[in-house]
Symmetry: C2
Subunit: 407 residues, 2 copies
């Protein structure tokens, strides 16, 4: 660790004092070749792989800590084939969005939660920790640079970009030990709205997601594992099973756990069911608990629970506890399931229309016969209002976008 004063010394401008992540040391290197912005609904957008003009990078070493962050033109990284991140999956990431409000303002949604989760994901795969407030400042700085062109005022009102912070173990190191070098980077990516749009050439989604309840042959997470952390290791290891499900016409896997088939989460999103309790007659919002570290502590999941707790206390009773797929199937056959939906940054709030379980499609109701409007769409509306500024709320964090603030 450096023992320098709190200002970077002029003969070592690349280092931050004490090696802490420090947004005040940020430098900006503007691109000279601007990339073409994909159109809404275009194939480029649906490819989910086209990044904005700039990216933010910040290097960490075990000896010096965090160096000065930089915003640089988007470009490939130069990584040793012997790097830890390529061989041993020392990598974690976040998924967030930046929203262009109908009021013209740009907002993040509860970015402090993403920063916190990136920190505990990093810890799980032996990557360095950082000051969470500084990470949020860095995200804001990148947004300020690229939002004006990639999410323009007026034209992009009501639209968003996806934000991908990643932290990976770099440096040449084939030994079995924690990375001695790492790279934090942040990308901005134009992203389709899965909850409302369909890929070009495909018909609009007629109904909600078709889920496929996992068989025991592939298990996403385990107590003592890392299903709670947003680490690469939890994702690529599900692609094969996911691909098999989509090739059968399903949208996502609903991951069951254990011999009794506990419902955990759906694909890359959390799962909710609204069910009439057979004994009490109460309407319950049912979702898996965080207690066993099996499921991701989703920011949208947390927000759904917070909103239901504060705004629907008389209507919905939150039941955050383990339930099995068989229990859900029974409730379904007894017409006690009112609706089901998934929540997540990528999928936002999307209703579930069916779950394939033991050879049968359990059909989730499309409309509430008894209670009028679906709760999922009410909650989604509240979240959208916060994200796009129709409701002034502390969860919507305004970013003043404009290059002048970065220079």
């Amino acid at each position: 660790m450096s023992t320098m004063s709190t200002k970077a010394s002029s003969d070592n401008p690349g280092r931050t004092s004490q090696g802490r992540l420090d947004a005040s040391k940020l430098s900006f290197h503007e691109t000279s070749t601007r990339r073409q912005v994909p159109q809404p609904g275009s194939a480029e957008l649906w490819a989910q792989n086209f990044c904005s003009d700039h990216m933010l990078t910040c290097k960490w070493t075990v000896d010096e800590g965090w160096e000065a962050p930089q915003i640089v033109p988007f470009a490939n990284l130069s990584i040793s084939p012997a790097a830890s991140c390529l061989n041993y999956a020392t990598q974690c990431f976040e998924g967030m969005k930046v929203y262009r409000g109908f009021d013209g303002k740009v907002r993040l949604f509860r970015p402090d939660h993403n920063a916190k989760r990136l920190n505990y994901s990093a810890e799980r795969v032996a990557l360095p920790s950082f000051d969470e407030e500084e990470l949020v400042k860095l995200v804001k700085a990148l947004v300020r640079v690229d939002a004006p062109r990639w999410l323009p005022k007026g034209a992009a009102a009501g639209r968003f970009l996806y934000i991908r912070p990643s932290l990976v173990g770099t440096g040449e190191q084939l030994g079995i030990l924690a990375p001695r070098e790492a790279l934090l980077y942040i990308l901005l990516v134009p992203w389709p709205d899965f909850s409302t749009e369909s890929p070009p050439g495909k018909p609009p989604r007629a109904s909600g997601l078709r889920l496929y309840a996992s068989q025991g042959d592939t298990v996403r997470a385990w107590p003592g594992g890392f299903g709670y952390a947003k680490v690469g290791a939890s994702y690529g290891t599900t692609f094969k099973a996911h691909g098999e499900a989509t090739s059968k016409g399903f949208d996502q896997i609903l991951w069951l756990f254990g011999p009794d088939g506990q419902v955990t989460e759906a694909g890359a999103s959390n799962f909710f069911a609204i069910v009439k309790n057979a004994s009490t007659g109460k309407t319950e919002l049912l979702t898996a608990p965080l207690t066993e570290n099996l499921i991701l502590d989703g920011v949208t999941r947390r927000s759904v629970l917070d909103l239901v707790r504060s705004r629907l206390p008389e209507k919905l009773e939150i039941v955050e506890q383990n339930f099995t797929m068989q229990e859900l199937a029974n409730a379904c056959s007894e017409a006690r399931v009112l609706e089901a939906f998934v929540s997540g940054t990528a999928f936002f709030i999307t209703p579930v229309s069916s779950i394939h379980f033991r050879g049968q499609d359990l059909i989730m109701p499309e409309i509430h016969e008894t209670e009028g409007e679906r709760y999922a769409s009410i909650i989604k509306g509240w979240l959208r209002d916060i994200q796009y500024g129709a409701e002034d709320h502390e969860w919507g964090v305004i970013v003043d976008d404009g290059l002048e603030e970065v220079a």
Copy 2:
């Protein structure tokens, strides 16, 4: 898939016919700046991060299949920050060695098993498959290029290099789906002999490995997971627990599984115990089975079992089944444990001197009071003889080293 004839067309020389991995299409681009070869016992060697002059690379795309492989100067890779391998751990690898025999010849050890395992590891993380014989040919080709200088005849007799084939999902792709591009690469790395050497400045290892039996807070693998596959996701996720164990003075974690504490494997190696059966009085070679896909199907593990089966059938009875740490502790307290050792490419055959379990160090015997020489050292001697050519055996696959065969 291409429908070209079996020869690459001249206007598309980068593509192999049908997109299959094809060693006959290999090209060689010799380095102009040779790297310094680390000395035996040096800090550079112990850093386990210094690769040889060249590496082999081969690109795959979903549209074209495998392109023509190349041997090129060792260099960093250019990888998009949005690549699947950096975000979703679509990555797998192998660990092999190339040995310079006392007869001057260069040998691989059962490389067909590594090629097969890389294929099923690749399948587990949605990466492309390949013809295993072609991969072995490519490993041999790289060995031919760099063995003469990095593992020279005479000076390096009785020494080895580590070989690291890796397969990673490249291309820009942040969607949750199988990689549409991938890169296979092979590195050669000077590597310390963990079974006989110590890092510079540290005293020689007085005895065997000190293992630390895992607590329930971290599990390495689970049924339906990927512990059987050599995927990055099984490694980085153990670094934190491993680091905590080494900071307490232990060498490796002995991974237990389940509420009853089944013994699975040790760090990055398989675990064996030689135990007198309390009922039958027979001497058993005890190791966890492959049946539940929890442990790695180690090439050294398999070879240990094969050699014991063929050469020690009267002495040791192979018991490839689940056993618990408590059962091993009981056998230890009843003086029925004759020895314990780990096997793997990195650790080769290394005796275990103690296992820390529930606050106590179970001491493994250092010498056989009753049976004379330790079986681990007998088996290790046989393997070494095969690897270095003292015994002519089909497991030792000779590579004619010399540049003329590659050009």
